[in-house]
Symmetry: C3
């Protein structure tokens, strides 16, 4: 069953899709390097005077509102609309939704103006999008996220139906749903939560897979989260308790060496 | 004597305080990762429309003017004032004060509008704040800093009294003063000056400690600088002469493994 | 023949020139660390209210348009003009020239308003500047670059004559020309193309060498590209097939240990 996810990486490495990011300045370097590591080609361009142009020539667009501001909010809208017009898949990462009025209004407007292929967030962020009460503590997943498996499945499925796209909630067990099918991914390692940007990097990987396999947004999202989860496991196996710096290096190593055989071998994935 | 500093890390790791940064885009990723590494939770948010909101829900605010611009200068003021209203400790890092008129005016305005808990800089930057002649060469410490121990103590003490806050001058020997007590820290390694952002990371660590221990700004600042200095020593012991890349990885490793026992064991700290 | 390039590093390490960057937020941390690694001192300052002031006190200015926007475009012009007035060498890195109208117009204006000491790009970007048809796919070198050796020499020479400066095209074989002399550098490793920012880092190294040796822009550019290429070879020798994360760490290690003897030993450089 896992080969349908695993084989998608071959097309990423074969076609090297251009993935346009409008993303935050905290983790942008990790996003660029992880995009290269999985075999795609990153471009970061957030000026309003070129956002739509660059989106139009890209294979996927990733909109990450981690450090949104009045300059980049319109650029994200312009890039998303341009991508929609050209049939380029859009990944929305609503970083910190629920944490401020500005973030809340921004993501609501994005979802009104843009049709995403995939929305990825932690449970707090996705809960906010679903209109449920959310307590978002900053931009990292709160502890409660680890216990939210059953609820996460329902939230992801409902929001996917509401938005007509794939919704991914990343946590100890990742949930991916397109409203019809819902997939659970048990790969990963708790040390991933000790690094900044692992969520952002997941969104970049989703963009990379969707850019190469635009007709398969659910499978692409699953393959991306499998890649990150498995890379986290391999990274811990290679770096052990050395610490966060070594774990991060090993994570980038593992992504850059990821292939279909590795995904097939390690994947712990099932449909709900 | 060192246990009063060492034990403060336990509360950082136990409470994971949210540390709001408005900081530069050069070293922001290191700041986020070091904040996670010491056990706190970073959030970077510099839009004027959310800076005050985010500051109000945070446990500490770090204002670093490394790459200030007309968009972030008002955001820093808004975040600082909001933090002051809520009793949230503010750490000011006057990167490059003395190097341009814009930086000089900005830090003067910050100190007029915001009551910091801690101000941290190198000797050139702190000398500028103290109204003394400063020759700031860029954003990194000039050579003279290494020889400025005695002067540094006097400058730190005087500025602490003038501002009514803790002042920290980081150099080969760090000086921390609240005007009454002055503490000297001899930990550290010269290779730290070969990496960008070690000063910024110190300010993030100060924010992390102050966020968890707001009633103890002097001790928090000392504990933060001990953590960085000791991590530098451990990093050099582990990476040796391999080079700057390996040293940096080992530095993040050491911070993520830092605990009270390690601080107690290695601390070389004394009151002046 | 290689000693005239190799010896230039001694002056970088001896004088630690201040290198002012207005650059993109994707790779800015790598640029700062590589600048420190080679022995120079980075300062990143892009506010219009200080760009000219900082440029005037610097030893070199690097203008990299990787994530240009309406705020930084005027700052780049102000910094470049200020540097020209003071005789400070300017390095222009036209990232993504050819990929959007905004980038095209920006670099054309820069070359009209600023007299660069060195322009460095990949073949697509330099072809655009030369007024030739270019297909720029994003910000990374396209595959065709590897085959473009002979054409690259002609393009570099012609553009150098047209602009009256040094032009460098980085690829599997780097080409550096001042219009009179044209130099080919065969050092490097294909894994460099798996990391983001290796081109940006080359420009930072060129700025560092030019800052210390402003009277020798051709030799400084060659020495900078030799440093990067040789560091790539050493990094691969030390990290092997571990992956991109380890290769990156080893690259920074190798730059921080680079010296004249290493450059002389490994350089594969010849005049065309």
């Amino acid at each position: 069953m896992t080969e349908k996810y695993a084989e998608l990486i071959d097309k990423v490495r074969a076609t090297s899709p251009l993935v346009h990011h409008i993303t935050n300045y905290v983790t942008v370097n990790d996003c660029a390097n992880i995009t290269l590591g999985i075999g795609a080609s990153p471009i970061m361009a957030d000026a309003i005077d070129e956002a739509a142009d660059i989106a139009a020539i890209s294979s996927a667009v990733v909109l990450n509102m981690g450090t949104l501001n009045e300059r980049t909010i319109p650029s994200m809208l312009a890039a998303g609309k341009s991508a929609n017009e050209k049939g380029v898949p859009v990944v929305i990462d609503p970083v910190g939704a629920g944490a401020s009025q500005l973030r809340n209004e921004t993501v609501v407007e994005q979802l009104k103006e843009i049709r995403p292929a995939v929305v990825r967030g932690n449970i707090s962020e996705i809960r906010f999008l679903a209109g449920l009460t959310a307590e978002t503590k900053g931009v990292d997943a709160a502890d409660g996220d680890k216990l939210a498996g059953d609820e996460a499945m329902a939230v992801a499925r409902d929001l996917a139906l509401k938005l007509g796209c794939v919704v991914a909630i990343t946590a100890a067990v990742d949930v991916v749903s397109d409203g019809g099918r819902t997939v659970l991914i048990e790969n990963g390692h708790e040390k991933l939560s000790g690094l900044t940007g692992t969520g952002c990097m997941c969104s970049s990987l989703i963009g990379s897979y969707c850019g190469a396999n635009p007709e398969l947004p659910l499978e692409s999202t699953v393959a991306a989260l499998l890649s990150m989860g498995i890379a986290g496991e391999i990274a811990f196996a290679n770096s052990g308790d050395k610490g966060n710096g070594s774990f991060r290096v090993s994570l980038h190593d593992a992504i850059s060496r990821m292939d279909a055989a590795t995904i097939e071998k390690y994947a712990r994935v099932r449909e709900a």
